[in-house]
Every structure is written in C-alpha cells, then in structure tokens.
Symmetry: C2
Subunit: 433 residues, 2 copies
C-alpha cells in the first residue's frame, strides 16, 4: 500500500519530511572492479575490449568487428515495422524542432567605456552516447540523447551498445540512424566508457559521455569525469501528479503507473484535495494492475514507494511540490498554467487533463532525460546547452584600457599580485611595483 | 627553463603531445578524513562546527558567534581605502552589467499540431559560496562568484570563509557586501561544505555550493554532490599567449607571468611565429622576475611548466590552441578577431595587444572562474546559467493529443511499456493492452 499523508494530521509534517528524504537507490560499490577495467582498456586498447566483451557479452569482436556496419544498420531498419519507423521519425522531427528553439545567440557589443565584450558558443567536438543492452535498450532514449547533440552541431556523435549473445534491438539501430549517430560500436559496460574516454585503436576518444547505464557504467562515468565531461547520473524515475476531483480516476491511476512500471524503485505520488477521489484513484490503480503486462514491477513500486497526499486546498500543493522537486510533474487541474506559475522546482511539467506524462517520453518534443531524486532544485533536463560551451571575450584599445585599467591595477595590488598589476600598468605607461 | 617546441622539428609532435598530456595537479587522498568530518557535522551540527573550528582555525565560535555580523562587515568596510572600495565597486558594476546580458529568455509557443510547448528558467533557492581564508582570499573572486547568483535571482546567497586565528581580509567582507551576499559564516574546510549541504542549527542548508578551496574542500564538494549541486573543481591557472613579432616583448612576458605568479604549478605558454621574438620574450621574463614580489612562485611555474612554441605561420596556431583548450587565451596579433574565429576551445579570450589577461581577472566583466586542464573542450566559465534551472512543459488538448498521441502509443508498445501506452490511449478513447 502506498503511504497516506493527510494535511492537518498531527504527523503530517514528519511524514512528509520522511517522504522527501526517502532513499530509493541501492548503492553498490563496484569502483575497484571498474578502475581495473579502465586501466586495462588504457593499457591494451582493442585487445582489452575484445577480451572483456567475450567474457561479459559472449561474443567475439575479432570476428564481428567492433564497429557496427552500415549494412547491419540497414538490415535492422528493414526488420522494423513501417508503423514503428514512422512513429520514430515523427518523434525525431518533433524532438529536433523543440531543441532548435534552444540554440542560444551570441553576445557581442561595446560598452560605454569602449570595451568590446562578448560570449559565443561552440559545440563539443565529439560526444559518446551509452545505450544499455537487452531489455533496457529504448529507441526513444537514443533519440533524446542524440538529437540535442546534433542540433548543437557536435561533429562526431558516437554510440556504444552492448550486444549480449550478439543480440541487439533493430529499433535501437534504426533510432540511431534516424537521429544522426555517426559511429556505432558493439561494446558495453565500464569497458565501453573507458574506450570512449581514452580511445583505442578502433574507437577515437570523445570529449563528453552521456546516457544511462547500470552501476558499472555509472561508476565508470564518475571515474573518467575530468578527462571527459559527463551528464548527471540518473536515478529511478518519478512522477508527481496534482489532480482535482474533476479528473477521471482511471486516467490519473494509469499516469501514476506509467512511471511506476519503469522500476520497482520508481516513485509515483498523487496530491489531491479530495480524499474520496484519492480512494477512487487507488481503486483504479488496482484495476489497471490486473491487466498490465508489467504489473509486478508497477505494483511493487506503487506499494513500496508510492504516496497519496490529501491537502485541504490545491493552493497548498506548490510548496509541497517544490520540496519534492519531482522529475515529472503533471498538473491535472482546471487552470494548470496558474498552478505552474507557483512552482519553482520540477524537471518537466505536463499541463492539463489531456497531457499524460508519457506523451513527453516519446513525441512531445522536450527531452525525457530529466533530473531525479530532488536534483531539479539545482539541475535541468538534457538540452542543446549540454553540448555547447561558452567562450567569453574582451577587447580593449588604448582608450578603453585607460578607462578601466586603473581599477584593475588597484585591485591586483590589493591582492598582492604584482605581475597582474604590472601587465595592465605597463600598457598604461604607468609604473607598477 | 621552459620547454621549447619548434614546429617542423622531428620531435615536435611527440613534444607537443607531451605538453598536452602533462599533469600538474598533485592528488592528495583526503577522502576518508573528509567523510568523517561530514558525518560529524551531520550528527552534531553546530557543536561539530565549533569543535572543528577551534581545532583548525584556533578560534572559539561559541564566543564570536558563527555568523559574521553587520557591524563587523561595516567596520571591515571602514578599514578599506576609498580607492580600493571604488575599484571594487567599479568591478562589481561591470561584472553585473556583463552577466545581465546572459539572462536567458523563456520559450512559449504552440506548434502546427496545436501542442503547447515551452521552457522556463527558475533560480536555485540558495547558493553557498566557499571563500578560502588567509592569503588566497581574493575579493575579486567573491565578486565573480556572488554576482552571477544575484543576477540569476537566487534569494539566499550564503558565504563561508575560515578566519584562522580570527583574521579575515576586510576587502573580502567589503566585496561580500558590494556583491550582495546575504549571510556570512566564519567557518571553512570540509566542515563548512558539510554545513552548507546538510545544514546545522545556525546554517540553513543550500542547494548548490560553489567556489575554490584546498584539497579538503574539493573532496568535500565531491562527496556532497548529489545532495547539492557543485561547480567544477578548479585546477591550477593557465595562460596561452599567441603573439606575433610586432608586440613589445616586455608586455607579453609580463602577461605570461601574470598567471605564473598564481601558483608554482600554474602554466604559461607562448606561441609565436618568430624565434627571435621568443628569445626576446624569454629575456624580458628574466628581467621582470628580478623585480616582481612573487618572483619565486612565478619563476618556478615558468621554469617547470612554461613552454615556448615556435610555429612557421600563425595560421598553424588554432589547431594547437584547440588541443591545449586553455583557460585563458590572449591573441596579441594584428587581426585577433580573424584568429579567434578559427579557435573552438578556450575558456576566455583576450583580443589584441591592449587587452592583458589580467583586465579580465578584475574589471572587464566576463567571469574569471573558468575551465582549466583542457576541460574547456566540454565545459564553460561560471555564468548566470549556473544558477538557473530549466523546466520544460507540454500542454495538449484533445485535438493535439489526437494528432501526436498515436505515435506515442506505437513507440510505448514497441518498448514494452504498457502503462505508458495506455495512459495515452485511454485519453484517445482507444484500447491499449
């Protein structure tokens, strides 16, 4: 059974704080194993990749090749249904269109002192996208990770994916092609991350590594951070639905379950102002679970980590939402815009009764790679900016340096940095210690 | 003596690759000590802060108070010279003006399918700024870290600074006041980072921690990452100067030394197309060192980590610059804009013969917190965006959901996620497994 929290009850604040601080991730310390794998790939390159892939994925890369060929991609695509390919292409178009709106503009101006100032964006040279193998290989995630890099103008967009027993989802390869991946390698685990970061004979190194993975992949990303950039380490999925009693309980129940079905440690939370409606949603959850293919997972998540919070007034919801800072926030109320305006911390919002969160997982356009575990308080979903760096610039002539230089000399001397002071003063024709 | 690399020499590529991969940071593993300190602050709060501060900084916070009072700040300000305060205020104004140009705009539109889409920015609720104590307490760094948070609209901007033996730079407190810091606490080290992340009776927790510090502070930031956001871990400073023979060698020499004087492991590199000019710069470095207050540090950096690279043509410089991806790049050439246009990776650029890098450390306006150790390949200097998070949103009505929903159902079913599919299909009036 999910937790029940009733606003106004004497234990509400304590129970809510418990919900905010509940841990769902299971830490497994694989850092030593991973460090060994990384060192092996650095030392032996392709030979290490071949040996580790034989061991973990039971395939012989010396026979198959490390790279996945254009022919393999074409035949994978041919194996997909036209309907699914059309859906992937529609999703890719919509994701690309939304991400194009994120491309930032440069700054370039001269200020009142005559100082030229600016900021420009340049793409990262090469990005590596980790795609999990087996059942966790989602074509939609390929689109969501690869398309922002393409829109940012990253020239090399490299994908790695393990193929345990030689198997790979044709849809994943089709998604890679549709989203403009430029190279694909059939490697996975910490060894794939090491190859992307340090390079091997076959795989040239990249500058940033993104994408989800298991504990070994996450540990490897942490260890190569600094050598390359990484995205955030994603935790189990979450949804918070704020719903009034005018909703169909069955719609709200299936929205809660749509995130619960990801993982036994996913979390689905309902906030409503009507205890009877909450009870009807709970009943509808039970009904849906009777027929859902992933009912075991979704049911475990709902019973172990789910929560139902009844407030006196939905105007009290934003303060609770901000404390939970959910990855996904659905506002199934009459005036969702007004409520959204009161909320400060959420990864992505789904407004109104006709916007199920799942529409954003696939085709709406915004990214589905979002901050989890309350990190929406300080971080953002994946976007074009994650593949661009900012370079600022300054340009002085003798007159503008004369206008602002003396203050720099004063501050450098106050900080005891004589060479800083002198590098400005020497151009002003003045002396510095 | 700095390294000499001559383009065209048989060992050039090997020598340049050696320069690119040279390590200057000294790793010290203090993670166990730091983990103990963090656990202590979580368990005992202010009592731990008081005990650790007595031990490391030899002051009794129970007597002085943990917070620095408005009276102390006012009297610190009164102890600063009017000239220095005026310079700080001019710097603050210019930094604020440049950072205001970085405030991003929201996205809000409906597309051809009638789907409402958008992206908005909200500030982080509370930021903690770590300021090192003693001689490394730079008022300019207080401005550079605090002002972007203020411009972003972060309501709580908290500073922590150790006061060993009770001493604190009056200029640091004045800079904190000028840049709008809202709370200051006299604590430092890993215990200060722990207090910011987890809170104590006196210090409310923040959501993101920024600012430089020693190995203990860096390790503490790494350990609290996830609970709060952190900025990147800064390495030793670097400057790369590209200069033709038309420059005054003395100007270029002092620019190289302005970063070398930061740290024995700082790095200054000259790229020029004229070997005679390179020799004149080296001679000028020796002359400056004879009279600089921090000659010992600057000389050690130049001799141990400096480099002089002579190319045949300055058109060959951009490829080398990109491989080094320097923190600071000075282009002291006739047409710096053209050269800048060829470069992809640099933290900040200083264009022309009259723009010494040090002008950017203090008063130009762009931030001086910049990516080091080749991380400009994938990361950026501090800016307003570091204190804002992006929240995307989607809004469908029945018609727009009908337009895009079927593709989402198809993809969800292809991924085996039945609740995802059903949450869309149920609103389309259709069945899903």
């Amino acid at each position: 059974m999910p937790r029940k929290l009733i606003a106004g009850a004497p234990d509400f604040e304590e129970a809510f704080e418990g919900l905010v601080n509940s841990k769902r991730e299971t830490d497994s310390d694989v850092s030593d194993t991973v460090a060994g794998i990384i060192a092996d790939v650095i030392a032996r390159g392709d030979a290490a990749l071949i040996e580790l892939t034989q061991k973990f994925d039971r395939i012989d890369l010396a026979k198959t090749g490390i790279a996945i060929s254009a022919e393999e991609i074409a035949s994978a695509r041919a194996a997909c249904s036209q309907e699914t390919l059309a859906a992937l292409e529609k999703a890719a178009e919509r994701i690309e269109a939304f991400h194009r709106t994120q491309v930032p503009t440069s700054i370039d101006y001269a200020d009142a002192d005559g100082v030229g100032l600016g900021l420009r964006h340049t793409p990262v040279d090469a990005v590596g996208l980790y795609v999990p193998g087996g059942k966790a290989a989602y074509p939609s995630s390929v689109l969501m990770n690869a398309i922002p890099a393409k829109v940012a103008g990253v020239p090399r967009r490299v994908m790695v994916v393990p193929t345990p027993g030689g198997e790979i989802s044709p849809l994943v390869l089709a998604a890679a092609e549709i989203s403009g991946i430029t190279e694909i390698y059939r490697v996975g685990g910490a060894q794939a991350v090491a190859a992307l970061a340090y390079g091997t004979e076959t795989i040239r190194p990249v500058d940033k590594i993104i994408g989800p993975g298991n504990a070994y992949v996450a540990a490897a990303k942490r260890q190569v951070f600094g050598k390359v950039g990484i995205d955030s380490i994603a935790g189990p999925s979450e949804i918070l639905v704020v719903a009034d009693a005018e909703n169909d309980p069955s719609w709200i129940a299936i929205d809660l379950l749509s995130q619960a079905e990801h993982d036994e440690v996913a979390q689905a939370i309902l906030i409503t102002d009507d205890a009877d409606f909450a009870a009807r949603v709970e009943a509808a959850v039970a009904e849906h679970l009777a027929t859902l293919p992933r009912a075991n997972i979704a049911g475990a998540s709902w019973n172990d980590h789910g929560a139902v919070i009844v407030v006196n007034d939905l105007a009290d919801a934003p303060a609770l939402v901000d404390r939970l800072a959910p990855e996904h926030l659905e506002l199934a109320v009459e005036d969702p815009d007004a409520l959204a305006g009161e909320i400060r911390h959420a990864g992505a919002m789904f407004l109104g009764r006709h916007t199920p969160e799942a529409i954003g997982d696939y085709v709406a356009g915004p990214n589905h790679v979002l901050p989890t575990a309350r990190t929406a308080r300080f971080s953002s979903g994946l976007g074009v900016l994650d593949f661009l760096k900012r370079t600022t610039w300054v340009k002085c002539d003798p007159a503008s340096l004369a206008a602002i230089g003396p203050a720099a000399v004063t501050l450098a001397e106050a900080e005891g940095l004589g060479a800083h002071a002198r590098s400005v003063a020497i151009r002003l024709g003045a002396a510095a210690e």
